[in-house]
């Protein structure tokens, strides 16, 4: 089964670039896109993505708060914070909200590798755990 991504960013340009980068991997697909936290939470519960790429500074609730609410629902789904403001302090806050990894938007180089590492062990067994988190509402 292909890995399904939810990408959340208020910039269409950033979402487009993310699509290009992620879809270069034939095993990855974008299942949904949102431009703010509220819309992301709605899609998150509807689409049950396997992984979320999340912007930090967005209109309405910010990425950290969005992540906090997502991890309350499905803690096993990895969330990557994709931000212009990556710093150790932000990272600490991000981890407290259940975010697995923080990637700097302006140094997006290591992102693909980082995502692979996040998904890596999940390919086999924990993937099942991940889907179990959603209960019976599993889509596709």
């Amino acid at each position: 089964m292909r890995t399904r991504f939810l990408i959340v960013d208020d910039s269409e340009l950033v979402r487009k670039s993310l699509r290009t980068v992620l879809q270069a991997n034939p095993d990855w697909e974008i299942c949904g896109e949102a431009a703010d936290g509220e819309a992301a939470l709605k899609l998150f519960s509807e689409l049950h993505p396997n992984i979320v790429i999340l912007d930090f500074q967005m209109p309405g609730i910010n990425g950290i708060e969005t992540a906090r609410r997502m991890s309350e629902v499905a803690p096993a789904v990895p969330i990557v914070l994709f931000t212009q403001h990556a710093s150790p302090d932000l990272e600490r806050h991000a981890r407290e909200a259940g975010i697995r990894s923080v990637v700097s938007k302006t140094d997006a180089f290591p992102m693909v590798g980082m995502i692979e590492a996040l998904l890596g062990p999940a390919e086999s067994e924990p993937a099942a755990e991940g889907s179990a988190d959603y209960g019976k509402g599993q889509a596709g």
Partner: protein, 365 residues
């Protein structure tokens, strides 16, 4: 006839005839004349109206002129009232000295020369009017400077937001595209791979520069996750740019504060560190933010530099870069009901700002 406001002149004498005489003399000034027949009546007027000049007899039954003057001077609101004594008796130098020590501005003996009395009262009435105008202007200036500071904050926030929203995504897209290309380096010739590598470095530099500008304009973390992380991040960036070692000590119980307090405290710290870098010559700085009382936040920034330039023993001279920054800080804090204290010597400078907060800060341990 004239556009300026009339001021109140209080005349105090136990003899009605004298009061009428003073009234006749002072009528020409076209101010408000108020008559009081006793010291007690005079106090009643003083409490109710803003009085510019008190003209009073020294010898009155019950409360005499000197006692009344003492009572007036004790009240902070009345400190600036001009008191003129009129006396037919008590005319020794000691009596006059007694009057001046009680804060009188003049001591006139009877018989009164009408022109002289009128001229003297006019001087103090005008002085009072000018003081009032100055106070009004001062208040206007204060509120203008507070508005300007708030607008400057808003404008900076706006520009930082624009940078983030417009240039930020462009850099992110550039960086991701470069990342895609980098995965194909094997297919590229070494020259092209080299150019790509250079492009990556350029994008990185560009993003770093924009980030610095945007963070100095308005720290993004301030709105999103609060003062303490924003200060920490700013201090880290400052240390990197300036090579000044910065020690940061922040009490976690402070938590989130109202937005105007957060931005003001942030700006105070920012201004202090800028001064450390530009003027102090210090290689170290320390920032300490902690509650000194349940509802009072203390911000302390210390360096080990050469201290501030001193004029007449007072740190900071007007017109220097120091002065502008400091008065800006003072204004910000005054707006919040806070204070600014500066201790400076050849061993370094310590700036201490105290800001009242509405909600008590308690340890959440």
């Amino acid at each position: 006839m004239r556009e300026q406001e009339k001021v109140n002149i209080l005349m105090v004498d136990d003899q009605p005839g004298k009061l009428l005489t003073y009234e006749a003399i002072l009528n020409e000034l076209d101010e408000n004349l108020i008559k009081a027949r006793s010291g007690k009546e005079a106090l009643d007027h003083l409490l109710r109206t803003d009085i510019a000049v008190v003209l009073m007899d020294v010898s009155m039954p019950e409360l005499d002129g000197f006692q009344l003057a003492d009572m007036i001077r004790q009240h902070p609101r009345f400190q600036k009232i001009a008191i003129i004594f009129i006396s037919a008796v008590h005319l020794t130098d000691l009596d006059r000295l007694n009057a001046y020590q009680r804060g009188a501005v003049d001591y006139i003996s009877v018989p009164v020369v009408p022109e002289l009395l009128r001229a003297k009262v006019r001087v103090f009435a005008d002085l009072h009017r000018k003081t009032q105008q100055l106070e009004t202007l001062n208040r206007d200036l204060r509120s203008l400077s507070a508005r300007l500071l708030a607008m400057q904050d808003e404008e900076r926030r706006h520009i930082a937001r624009d940078l983030h929203d417009s240039i930020g995504p462009l850099i992110a897209a550039l960086s991701m595209n470069n990342g895609m290309l980098a995965q194909q380096t094997k297919k590229l010739g070494p020259d092209v791979a080299d150019v790509l590598q250079q492009n990556n470095q350029l994008v990185e530099q560009l993003s770093k520069d924009i980030r610095t500008i945007s963070h100095l304009l308005h720290p993004p973390l301030l709105d999103e996750i609060g003062l303490l992380p924003a200060i920490k991040m700013f201090a880290e960036g400052f240390a990197e740019r300036s090579s000044v070692k910065v020690d940061v000590e922040l009490s976690p119980e402070i938590g989130r504060l109202p937005p105007n307090v957060e931005i003001s405290v942030f700006r105070v710290v920012q201004e202090c560190l800028t001064n450390v870098y530009r003027h102090s010559g210090s290689k170290t700085a320390s920032i300490k933010i902690a509650p000194s009382q349940e509802k009072l936040l203390t911000v302390q920034v210390r360096d080990e530099g050469k201290g501030m330039p001193r004029t007449n023993g007072v740190p900071a001279s007007p017109g220097s870069n120091h002065g502008v920054g400091l008065s800006g800080m003072r204004e910000r804090l005054r707006e919040l009901g806070g204070t600014l204290e500066i201790k400076s010597s050849e061993n370094g400078t310590t700036v201490i700002a105290a800001v009242p907060v509405a909600k008590p800060m308690v340890k959440n341990v």
